[in-house]
């Protein structure tokens, strides 16, 4: 990633796809691991967390990009953190109002979006150097990539650990659930396996 080069380029499809595929936050950069592993016990939780992060990411990147010429360089990180924390508080209250059961399932991890390295990383590396529209497109891509990553993890863990997907039973009643997959060790194992798959695919395409 070379931020200086990106300034000269306009908005391309690549601005969007960078986060979805080439620099996918979960599988390629391995950022924001805490929420990734903690909330992906089920696909529903994973998607909600992904959307919450997407919202915070896009709104903070927009704001950071709008004020990028007003903030002195010395206090920029502090400013970004306050901006991010404001939007996270907003999301926290929205989720609490819309679905209390979801709020209880995600718990303190909604508030922990603040320290998700993806958001601060995007604000610092991209939004602070680019015009608003481009920053939003890039943030959207990153957020969608993050959601896809969470969904992949959440779906795998829910299928293996509970035999369900989005709460619907898949295998009938004779399925013996692989309980460890929804417990903490399963999170590490499933993410490890996904990363293995990705590095396998990369090594395959490199040799061809």
């Amino acid at each position: 990633m070379n931020p200086k080069k990106e300034i000269d380029e306009g908005i391309t499809f690549d601005t969007f796809m960078e986060g979805v595929w080439r620099q996918n936050p979960v599988f390629v950069m391995v950022l924001g691991m805490c929420p990734t592993l903690a909330v992906t016990v089920s696909a529903v939780n994973a998607v909600s967390m992904g959307i919450a992060t997407l919202f915070v990411l896009v709104s903070s990147c927009l704001l950071v990009s709008l004020i990028r010429n007003l903030v002195p360089k010395e206090v920029r990180i502090a400013t970004y953190i306050v901006i991010i924390a404001t939007f996270v508080t907003l999301v926290d209250y929205i989720i609490q109002a819309v679905s209390l059961s979801l709020y209880e399932a995600l718990g303190a991890f909604i508030q922990l979006i603040v320290v998700n390295c993806i958001i601060l990383g995007r604000a610092e590396a991209h939004a602070s150097k680019n015009p608003p529209l481009k920053a939003v497109v890039n943030a959207l891509g990153m957020g969608i990539g993050f959601t896809i990553g969470l969904l992949a993890l959440g779906a795998t863990r829910e299928i293996l650990g509970a035999g369900k997907l989005f709460g619907f039973s898949l295998f009938g009643e004779h399925f013996q659930p692989w309980v460890v997959m929804v417990l903490p060790p399963g999170g590490f194992f499933v993410l490890g396996a996904w990363l293995l798959l990705f590095s396998f695919m990369r090594s395959r395409s490199a040799t061809e």
Partner: protein, 194 residues
């Protein structure tokens, strides 16, 4: 919440270890656990900041509840943690230059450690009193250090092993962490909690 102090300590150290059971502070856990020599100072520095942050968060929470400003909690916590890291850094530089040199580069990293914010948020969510909060943060820090040191020792041993190139890197660390986490699940029920 009527948990005893020893229950809280054992829970945060072993059964509900911050890293291995609650997935807090994974970035430094995967990033700094390459060598034992760096893992231990990082763990100690984090524990120290956790204690300071927990103290500040406790006082701040009283203040915010008194003025009914609950919606400012998250914003004020993160600002307080960031500035307390700065403060710890300055105090250490003044009074113990040797320790500062040893921990120097790790201190700023701790601001973005979700375990520190996690301590502050969980102690508020569980309504811990003053002594409980301190035990919680100390146990959390000790648990973080324990996990980091264990992981670093494992990875140092692995450098001597012949690992397939495909598995090297983050994937291997994650599977190791999974095995450690599985082991720590064996402590469940210890201390009479949960």
């Amino acid at each position: 919440m009527n948990e005893s102090l020893s229950q809280i300590f054992i829970a945060t150290l072993l059964t509900n270890n911050f890293v291995l059971a609650m997935f807090l502070g994974l970035c430094p856990f995967l990033g700094v656990s390459g060598r034992l020599g760096t893992a231990l100072p990082m763990g100690i520095a984090t524990t120290f900041v956790m204690l300071v942050a927990s103290l500040c968060a406790y006082g701040l929470n009283l203040l915010l509840s008194y003025f009914h400003l609950d919606f400012l909690r998250l914003i004020s916590y993160i600002v307080v943690i960031a500035s307390s890291v700065q403060l710890v850094e300055m105090v250490m530089k003044k009074y113990s230059p040797a320790l500062f040199r040893a921990l120097g580069i790790y201190l700023p990293l701790i601001t973005t450690n979700c375990a520190v914010l996690g301590v502050a948020l969980f102690q508020t969510a569980r309504d811990y009193d003053f002594a409980q909060s301190l035990t919680f943060s100390f146990g959390g820090g000790a648990g973080f250090t324990l996990a980091l040191v264990l992981m670093a020792s494992l990875r140092e041993r692995l450098q001597l092993a012949n690992v397939p190139t495909l598995v090297q890197g983050t994937a291997l660390s994650l599977i190791l962490a999974g095995l450690l986490s599985l082991t720590f699940m064996g402590f469940a029920g210890l201390g009479g909690g949960e």
